[in-house]
């Protein structure tokens, strides 16, 4: 599903953020990406949805080298990759429903389809009740659920979550991770970048550890540390 081949990324300020990264993630896998701050976790995820272009190497998503995609093709790539952020990135002047519907509107879906799919998605994340609330009326956990609902409303085969529990208390974090696992079981490849040791240790999933832009460990049923 996802394959990185000799990927390096140097930002214009000359910092080597990723060095020769090789990584292969299969369909429907659930993978944690861990590593100290500045290791390159966010950068790696951004490469997958063409938030950045690699300096060299191939970034293959669903058999397509994303690095070589025309700019006009990028939106279609992004409709196949749901993204969840630590800071949620919800539109503040719109309700939860409208925020989730937004991701479908851009695809030109008819109104009835939008309504049905948004409802399904909100139901899945347990936010149907809060559909007409505005983001600043929501708790952190609810905002993250809304963000996840938006990420999956298109039924993307891939879901990327960059520190989805970064701003949440332990119980809520655990709820969110279980939600991501539930989504993974619905045939979605899930990548989670996190600093949350207890979650990684308890979940016992594949762990890819980055340090200074290199993969230093890639372990099935791994923990946060070796």
């Amino acid at each position: 599903m996802i394959e990185l081949i000799n990927v390096s990324k140097t930002y214009s300020n000359g910092i080597d953020v990723l060095c020769n990264v090789n990584l292969n993630i299969g369909k429907e896998e659930f993978v944690f990406i861990v590593g100290p701050s500045g290791a390159g976790k966010t950068t790696l995820m951004r490469l997958l949805y063409r938030g950045e272009n690699p300096s060299s190497g191939k970034v293959i998503v669903d058999r397509v080298n994303v690095a070589e995609l025309d700019a006009e093709q990028v939106p279609y790539l992004r409709r196949n990759i749901g993204v969840v952020f630590q800071d949620y990135k919800l539109l503040p002047k719109r309700t939860v429903f409208e925020n989730v519907a937004f991701a479908l509107r851009v695809t030109g879906a008819p109104r009835s389809t939008i309504r049905r799919k948004v409802m399904q998605s909100l139901e899945l994340v347990g936010m149907l009740r809060r559909a007409s609330a505005f983001p600043d009326e929501l708790s952190g956990g609810e905002k993250q659920r809304a963000c996840i609902a938006r990420a999956i409303v298109n039924n993307p085969p891939i879901l990327l979550a960059d520190e989805p529990t970064g701003n949440l208390d332990p119980t809520t974090s655990w709820d969110i991770i279980q939600l991501l696992e539930k989504i993974n079981k619905r045939n979605t490849t899930v990548l989670v970048a996190t600093h949350n040791k207890s979650i990684v240790d308890d979940m016992k999933r594949r762990v890819v550890a980055l340090e200074n832009g290199r993969i230093v460990r890639d372990q099935q049923l791994g923990g946060y540390n070796v």
Partner: protein, 295 residues
């Protein structure tokens, strides 16, 4: 894409309202520029009227011997028509001149009482292409033995014409300059409304919106701004022109002021469409620029 039209329009109005101040600045800019534009357009058209008036006086009158025969006159007409710069030669018999003369002055006194016979000579009216040719042609014409005298309206004609030409060209240049300046101001104003929605745009792009999708609401917003600006400018200009032009026409009836409603309508329609086009183009350019630079 078309299933989204309603969404785009709602979005555009929403954005217009949210950035009300910015939108008003853009509307105001378009209005002011279009009013200036319209003033110059009307000025140029009116000056064109003056020129039209003046051009009709690009004539040299050649007075000929009173006893000229019809045959000689015919030959002379052909001769005169061959002169450089002459576009038309018309024979005016002394009877015709006399009639004309009496029509002009007859009301004031009964000429037939004073003059028993027609004192005027036959003449040819030569129309020349440009005012500069008036004196050369006149000089050429008198060389002919049959021509007694040649005259043309005084040098003011040439002066007015070249002045009017300068104003015309200057006016056209100004109109173009004003349009470009307006476009630049509109681009920069709408750019601010686009930048104010940078987060929205980044999220739209993140969930897979195409650039066209992102641009659409802004372009509709630009059209709304343009239409409001254009209509305001039209109303201001129409009220002003009607007041000024009608008053001028009454006070100075000899001024060829344009009151042709059809032509005025064209000017107003140009303004409204110009405003719409400015708003639309301005929005398109600014949103494209922001998308290129930031996303």
């Amino acid at each position: 894409m078309f299933s989204n039209i309603e969404f785009f329009i709602v979005e555009a109005f929403r954005s217009f309202k949210r950035g009300a101040l910015m939108s008003l600045v853009a509307v105001g800019t378009i209005t002011v520029s279009l009013v200036l534009f319209g003033i110059f357009l009307l000025l140029v058209i009116n000056l064109g009227n003056v020129v039209g008036d003046v051009s009709s006086r690009l004539d040299v009158v050649a007075y000929v011997d009173k006893d000229i025969s019809l045959k000689e006159a015919g030959a002379l007409q052909i001769e005169l028509a061959k002169l450089q710069g002459v576009t038309k030669v018309r024979y005016i018999s002394n009877d015709e001149s006399w009639k004309e003369f009496r029509k002009d002055f007859g009301a004031k006194l009964d000429l037939n009482e004073v003059v028993r016979y027609n004192p005027l000579p036959h003449s040819f009216m030569l129309t020349v292409r440009t005012p500069e040719l008036l004196s050369t042609v006149a000089d050429e014409v008198v060389k002919n033995d049959l021509v007694v005298e040649a005259s043309y309206s005084d040098k003011m004609v040439a002066k007015i014409k070249s002045l009017v030409d300068a104003v015309r060209i200057g006016g056209a240049a100004l109109v173009i300059l004003i349009s470009i300046a307006t476009l630049l101001i509109v681009v920069n104003t709408i750019r601010l409304t686009v930048l104010a929605r940078e987060t929205d745009i980044s999220i739209m792009k993140l969930v897979g919106a195409t650039n066209t999708f992102v641009k659409f609401p802004f372009i509709i917003e630009g059209i709304i701004i343009g239409v409001i600006g254009g209509v305001s400018a039209f109303l201001i200009l129409k009220l002003a022109y009607d007041a000024v032009a009608m008053r001028l026409a009454l006070a100075l009836p000899f001024l060829p002021i344009m009151t042709d409603q059809g032509l005025l309508l064209v000017v107003y329609v140009v303004m409204i469409f110009g405003g719409t086009a400015l708003g639309m183009l301005g929005a398109y350019i600014s949103v494209s620029k922001v998308l290129k630079q930031k996303f």
